[in-house]
């Protein structure tokens, strides 16, 4: 103390500073603790009326139908929860979706409910910002048993750590132009890739009619296709720990080569496809330019039903036997699509979790689930809906129902996002080469995959 006084600090000043410091050291942890506890855990009582906030994916194909559906949900929710309501914001791109996830996680503040696509759920789980749903919570909305079982495989890393409630499905299947197949004398839809290539060649004239199309410039299509081929060959894109990328494995190289060969070797897809995105492929099918669209979701139906191919297309399960083989290899899986769809998650720091559960209960009710189909042409995920509305398993929706049942989950790795981007970079580069020159070399392909795998590995740490 004497030293302090020597340096010009008075006793009064010292006590002022010390007192403030002591008060802060007591008050700050208490304040932070209070903040942490303010996010109320769900109780059994009736929730306090409030206005929930939702952050959901924009239905760019049917924005009006989405608004109509949200109004229906709101009416039902307000009726069941007097005094409460909800508002919603939409995102139109993966970038917006992840940016909101990052900022909300970092600030521990954000919407009460987030909607995510299936492959982003692992990333959302990794942030630790979403409530792991307890048995009581599941029971509150009807129990896990009401859902299409494959959809729950993307809800969390294990059955006791689920964070995401499925709200709609997006099954993948193959769609073909019936008239084109008939004209080429093809009576049976191919179930092996050998048959697929033969059939596609038979329907290609090399100018304005092609067996199929590709969308290598798309943000998602490259990993969709490569995952499919690799899975059928018994390989993986990342090892079982999720810590090691396998983008340069033999299976990955073969899978990429097979896809690029649709343009380069078999010439069943136009070279112009090198610059295609997903929407371009949908358009090419709508104009009758291509016969097959592989791994197509139900989203294309909106375009096709008001195009020259209306009534002329049919969904079936896609080929499952790798090219050059007559049956699945050891370890190969008969995958023709992965578990895909939209999910609602409860933000951990929400103060209205119980009310949010009440909203989820409305969203997964068979009546609202049916409206997802009726208005937005999306597949419901609640089993009861299929029993109540038989049209959900009729026509093209029968094949899509089958596809959803047989879908394989992608690995629940938080680094799946970087993997998608890195694989897309390699495919984009190689497809450009094919588009411009008509060919590629295996050494270039291997080199591109080795490079992106190194980059992936660097981000995995």
């Amino acid at each position: 103390m004497a030293r302090l006084l020597e340096t010009g600090v008075t006793r009064r000043r010292f006590l002022q500073v010390a007192g403030m410091g002591t008060a802060a050291s007591v008050a700050v942890p208490g304040f932070l603790e209070a903040c942490a506890q303010s996010a109320s855990a769900p109780s059994t009582g009736s929730p306090k009326p409030a206005t929930l906030s939702l952050y959901i994916a924009k239905d760019t194909a049917r924005p009006q139908a989405q608004a109509q559906l949200m109004n229906m949900i709101k009416s039902k929710f307000e009726e069941e929860n007097p005094g409460s309501s909800f508002t919603y914001d939409t995102y139109a791109s993966a970038g917006e979706e992840t940016t909101k996830l990052e900022t909300s996680s970092a600030a521990q503040e954000g919407p009460d409910i987030f909607e995510f696509g299936s492959t982003l759920v692992p990333t959302a789980y990794a942030t630790g910002s979403f409530e792991i749903l307890t048995s009581d919570m599941w029971n509150h909305i009807g129990g896990k048993g009401i859902f299409f079982p494959p959809q729950l495989t993307m809800s969390g890393p294990s059955p006791d750590k689920l964070i995401a409630v499925p709200v709609s499905g997006n099954p993948w299947a193959m769609v073909h132009n019936k008239a084109m197949l008939q004209a080429a004398g093809i009576s049976k839809v191919p179930t092996t890739w050998n048959d697929f290539i033969d059939a596609a060649k038979a329907m290609t004239n090399g100018t304005d009619q092609w067996g199929t199309a590709m969308a290598p410039a798309d943000g998602f299509d490259p990993w969709h296709k490569i995952w499919l081929f690799v899975t059928q060959m018994g390989g993986q894109l990342m090892d079982s720990t999720g810590k090691k990328g396998l983008l340069d494995s033999n299976e990955s190289v073969e899978a990429c080569a097979f896809w690029l060969d649709w343009m380069a070797k078999y010439k069943i897809a136009a070279r112009q496809d090198a610059a295609f995105k997903g929407a371009d492929e949908v358009k090419a099918f709508a104009t009758g330019k291509i016969a097959f669209s592989v791994m197509a979701g139900p989203g294309g139906m909106g375009t096709w039903d008001s195009s020259p191919v209306a009534g002329q297309y049919e969904y079936t399960l896609g080929p499952t036997v790798p090219y050059g083989m007559s049956s699945l290899p050891s370890g190969g899986k008969p995958a023709q699509g992965f578990v895909s769809g939209q999910y609602y998650t409860l933000f951990k720091y929400s103060k209205n979790q119980e009310l949010a559960l009440n909203l989820l209960k409305v969203v997964v009710s068979p009546e609202i689930q049916y409206q997802y189909f009726q208005l937005r042409k999306q597949q419901p995920v609640v089993l009861g809906t299929f029993n109540k509305y038989p049209e959900l398993k009729q026509g093209n929706w029968a094949a899509l129902y089958d596809a959803a049942l047989k879908a394989y989950p992608t690995p629940f790795f938080s680094a799946w996002g970087p993997l998608e981007v890195e694989l897309g970079k390699a495919i984009n580069k190689m497809a450009s080469q094919v588009g411009i020159s008509g060919s590629y070399t295996m050494s270039d392909l291997k080199s591109a995959l080795t490079q992106v795998n190194q980059e992936l590995q660097a981000t995995l740490g």
Binding site: G95, T99, T123, Q272, V421, G424, N428, S432, T459
Partner: protein, 320 residues
């Protein structure tokens, strides 16, 4: 004594008189006067910059963002991964730096003569000058994302106007790729030149209007030709303003994110994978925020170059 020097001395003198406090250094007064600007600048610029630098030293990603203050410290790992030529991220890092530098320099070089030419044209007596001056600004007013979509349509393979015109004039095939491969850089440059040349035009026009008419009259009486008048009078007098325009333009093009993103998406060809796009993908698509922050710091250092060059050049001729 320059005006700037005189101003400073007056301010210092005023501080001495106003303060009258023998303990307060008179030289501090101008700094106090700067504080209304410095404090907001510190809050919105310097603190976030320091914070970005700190993040670049951490492994902040999807696994740690929920508790970001405890993200593991990784030191200079991201810088080494990117900048060491043997580092795993070096090819992507250097490719992005090259793409950004080429794109920003090339665009600036193209818009400079276009902007100055348009300004010279519209500075003279021309019928419909007011209308034309407004029309010239249209590309600059159109939102960048709209511009990106328009040019994406223009450069679509086979169906785009670029391929149609090229084929009609027998300059190349109808199925030329502009949105993938090496030509993608040209597509991006053309789109950005179209959108940004009015910036140089505005700067040049503003500078031209400050040149007194009697200077030109004197030149005319002395028998100077139009070219000589431009070279000896116009160009020297607008050069300081153009220098600023070039520096700002280079920085703006270097930082252009929206146009390449709309035209090429999150997985662009290497030729147009400019730094802002690469930083965005690393930070917001793959959640590698530490790496994204490190790339931002490197971009900031690169961007200091045109700013420093301009500031040094602007000092030339300052007698004080």
């Amino acid at each position: 004594m320059s005006i700037k020097g005189a101003g400073l001395r007056i301010a210092v003198a005023a501080g001495m008189h106003a303060g009258g406090d023998s303990h307060r250094s008179p030289i501090r007064v101008p700094y106090w006067l700067l504080s209304p600007s410095l404090i907001p600048l510190t809050v919105v610029v310097f603190i976030p910059m320091a914070f970005a630098f700190y993040i670049s030293l951490t492994g902040l990603n999807q696994n740690t963002i929920g508790d970001w203050t405890h993200a593991p410290f990784v030191g200079l790992k991201h810088y080494v991964d990117g900048l060491d030529p043997r580092g795993p991220l070096a090819p992507s890092f250097y490719s992005s730096i090259k793409a950004s530098v080429v794109f920003s320099v090339a665009t600036t070089l193209f818009i400079l003569p276009i902007g100055v030419g348009a300004a010279l044209l519209l500075n003279g007596h021309l019928r419909g000058r007011t209308f034309l001056r407004a029309v010239m600004l249209l590309p600059y007013i159109i939102p960048t994302f709209v511009n990106g979509i328009l040019w994406r349509l223009v450069f679509m393979t086979n169906t785009g106007i670029a391929d149609q015109i090229q084929a009609a004039l027998h300059l190349g095939p109808r199925d030329t790729f502009w949105l993938i491969g090496p030509r993608s850089l040209w597509a991006l440059i053309v789109a950005d030149v179209w959108a940004s040349w009015p910036f140089i035009y505005l700067m040049a026009l503003a500078a031209l209007q400050t040149i007194p008419a009697d200077v030109y009259d004197a030149a005319r009486i002395d028998g100077a030709t139009t070219f000589r008048t431009f070279r000896r009078i116009t160009l020297p007098l607008i050069t300081p303003t153009l220098g600023l325009g070039i520096a700002l333009s280079t920085i703006n093009h270097f930082n252009n994110f929206a146009l390449p993103y709309v035209m090429f998406g999150p997985t662009p060809p290497d030729e147009v994978n400019v730094m802002p796009l690469n930083i965005y993908v690393n930070s917001f698509i793959t959640f590698n925020l530490g790496l994204g922050a490190a790339m931002s710091v490197v971009a900031l250092v690169i961007m200091l170059a045109p700013a420093v060059i301009y500031l040094r050049a602007a000092r030339i001729g300052d007698a004080d």
